[in-house]
Structure formats: structure tokens, C-alpha cells
Symmetry: C2
Subunit: 279 residues, 2 copies
Amino acid sequence: MARTQDLISNRVDWVLAGEDTLSDAMRYALTGGKMLRGFLVLESARLHGVDEQVALDAALAIECLHAYSLVHDDLPCMDNDDLRRGMPTLHRQWDEGLAVLAGDALQSLAFELLADAKFGPHALDLIRALAQAAGKEGMVSGQMLDIAAESSPEPLTLAQIIQLQSRKTGCLISWSAMAGAVIAGADTTPLRHYADALGLAFQIADDILDVEGDAETVGKRVRKDAAAGKATFVSLLGLEAAKARAVELCDQACAALDVYGDQGDTLREAARFVISRDS
Amino acid sequence: MARTQDLISNRVDWVLAGEDTLSDAMRYALTGGKMLRGFLVLESARLHGVDEQVALDAALAIECLHAYSLVHDDLPCMDNDDLRRGMPTLHRQWDEGLAVLAGDALQSLAFELLADAKFGPHALDLIRALAQAAGKEGMVSGQMLDIAAESSPEPLTLAQIIQLQSRKTGCLISWSAMAGAVIAGADTTPLRHYADALGLAFQIADDILDVEGDAETVGKRVRKDAAAGKATFVSLLGLEAAKARAVELCDQACAALDVYGDQGDTLREAARFVISRDS
């Protein structure tokens, strides 16, 4: 994924060239991530013969959308986190007002990047899918479920956690993995199945990291789920069963790529990375 | 504008039919406004022969975008307002976390509504223009200038206030007035000139209302600019000269519509409404 990070970071410097505080804050929010979603876009595009320079702006768009969601989630009125990607969260580095605005502008920028004729006849499909993945039926509704769970006297069931996860993080991961097929007007089914398994594996790995990782390596606060008495895949399944489930999902994700043969190997590696990562 | 309000409110009930808290909050944010921007979209569409049912979703999109900006601007970390459109602001009615999320989902919804084939071959132009009007070079940058002005030892000059206004409110008003021409692929120049004058007149009227209005009628806190020692059109020009300038801009806005003949009369009335409104 190092190459994806270089490609996207260079494009960020081009798109966000301003020397004003808002541009600084937006660039800051786009710095230091794994860029898994951008990587999925570029791989999905490669599998469908979409030009990399075209796909790059879709990759940057999803990273903008993801970055905005992290900046807003970290706000004191939400998760109130001080550390993100090993750096102070945006509202700690500057202030809350700027964090709200930089997040807002990052969401606008995501759609601005996609509203380009270079995406061809399926550009509107790409935009509509992102708006749906991000909005009231997607990511934001997942965040709503997450907040509701915190004040609920009953811990969530496994089915509820799966639903929460599939909205909060799954929707954007699915959009990313399918983007190349959408741009090419190809069948999105194999990549949707891949992304469904990958998204769930990703969240289980996140829950495991919260238990086993240290904040310095992970780059954000850990042990916070247990401290908040929150039900997670680990609290419900136990650590070993959670790890086994992540491996199983990784295998499912890899199998969903059969139709791509060897060409799917990079996405298979990404699935294995997701469950073995330490940050 | 009563008919526009009915049309858009009915469409809101259709698009946001959920009975969950997030849908409630989004509907709340879309309630009670003048819907000037939506009105401009519908009139602009009528002038260019665009079907009203098509234009209606563009009108709703700009009202979603505008509503999101108000919800976020009212937050304690921004303007910290308790009253909006004569009702408690969203974070007072519910809480700050929901206000952040409802605003975020309203922005997504605006783009979801526009990402539709019914807008024809210029749909991408419409989306790109909205993303630019909303984002780092548009509305958000205007809000940044506004925040910077508050902590600056020097009050703003007239030229700086005009720049701030043109970004903070002017960009969305321009998008609204031009939307019909954009959808029809027609020349947007007359409507851009109309909107430039209208947007400035609108802000001057707002500054006058802050001095002359009462909170109950205006529907939001008044006298806040003077209390904050903020430079406004009224503080810089004086009340009478500000009123004269608003009338002059209204005349300019009306004159910009010459090319539309009598067909432009409803937009001319809207310009006169903008400078004579009491809320």
C-alpha cells in the first residue's frame, strides 16, 4: 500500500495547495492513514482496466470522505479522542470549530472530485453510491447506532454489532472495492462479496487491536471499548474465537475473487494484511 | 414563496420518511425556513423550460445544503446560537453529537438528490458547482473568514465584508439562481449577475435586521453583531446608507433580468422581498 499512499499524498498536495489554515487542516486530516480505501479503489480499477490517473481521484475522494468522518467522530461531543493516526486529533491540534469546518469541506471535496467527466457514463452512479454510503442510510446511521448503544442499558447482540459495523465502516469499504467495477460498468457482485467479508474482518481486527495493541503502535487510544463497557466482537465471541472468525472471513473474501484469478492476488494480500495489521 | 415551501415540504416528507431520531432531526433542520434558495431554483428552472418535478429535487438539495450549514454554524464551538427560525437550534432541541451528524447527513443527501439521471447531460456540472459553492473555496471558506474576523484586533473593511459575504452566503444563492440555466445548458450570465446583486442585498438586509428587528419576528438572536463588536454593512456605512445600498442592489438585480422580459417578474419580486423582509 506504500505506492498508493505516495500516489494519493502527491495528489493531495496538488488538490489542496492552499497555504491557508483550512487547507492546512484538511491536509493534516488526510495524513498518516493506511489509505486502505484508496488502495481498494485503485486495485478495483486495475482489475477492470480503468486508467490509474482517473481512478486516483476516486481514491482521493474516498479518503477525503473517510478523513472527514474521523475528524467529526473524534470531536468532544462524539467520541472525544485526543489521538488519531499517532498525531493529535484535529480539534486538539487546532480547535473544535475548525474541526467541524475542515470535516465539512472534506465531504464537499469528495463530491467535487467525483463530479468530473473523466469518470465517463457511470459518474452519477459513483456519486450516488458514495452519497448513500456516507449518509442517513449508511455511515452516519452507523454512527447513530454506535452512540445509541453507549447510552443503552443492554449491551448489543452480535447481530446488532454486525449491522452497526456494516453501516459505520462497511459501506465505505464496499464503495471502495466496487468503484472500479462501477466506473467500468461491470458486474460489481464479486467485489461486493469480497468487501462484505473484508469489512467485517476489518472491524473484528479493530476490536482485537483495542484489546491487544498499544496506543503508540495503533496510533489511537486503546482499551476504550472495555472501559466504556461496550459490547464488541471480542467481548461477545472471546479473543480466540474472534481471531478465528477474522481468518474465516479473510478466506471468504479471498474466495470471492475467484473470477479474477491471479489478478486478484493483490486484493487477497490486502485481506490478509487487514487481519494481521498492528495499527 | 408559500407554494415553494409547500412543494419542498411535501418532498421532504417523501425523501425523509424514516421514524428514527436522525430523520426527525434532519426534517427539523429543514423546517420553518423561507426557502429562498429553493424558490430561486424553481424560478430559474421555469425560465429555462425545465420540468418542475425535476427542478424540485435540485431545490430540495440546496435547502439540505443550506440547512446543514445553519445547524453546524449554530453549534457551541461556532456561533453558539440557541434560536433559529423561531425554534430551538438543533443541538438545543437534541444534543451536539446529533447536530454534527444530522448536518453531515444533510450534506450527503444534497449530493444524493443531485446524482440522478433526470437532471440530464448537465447533472455533473450541477454537482460540481454545488460542491465548489459549499466547500473550501466557497461557503466553508466564508465561515473561516467570519471566525477569523471575530478574533482579529482590526475590524473588517467594506471590501473584506463583501468578500466574506460573497463566499458565506453568496455562493449558494448564486448556485440556486443559476441552477435552471445549468440544467438546461443555457447561458448563466444574466442569472449570475442577478444573484451577485441579490446575495449582497440579502446580507445587507440581514445586517439591518440585526439592528432593527426583534428576535421573535426575525426568529434568531439579534443585536449580536454590535455586541460582538463586529464590523457590518450597517456599522461601516451607517443605517440609512446601508438601506440605500440595498435598494440600489435590488434595482441592479432586477435590471440583470432584462433578457427574460416579463417572465423575470417573479424573480424581481423576490429581490424586492429580500430587502423588505422582517425575518
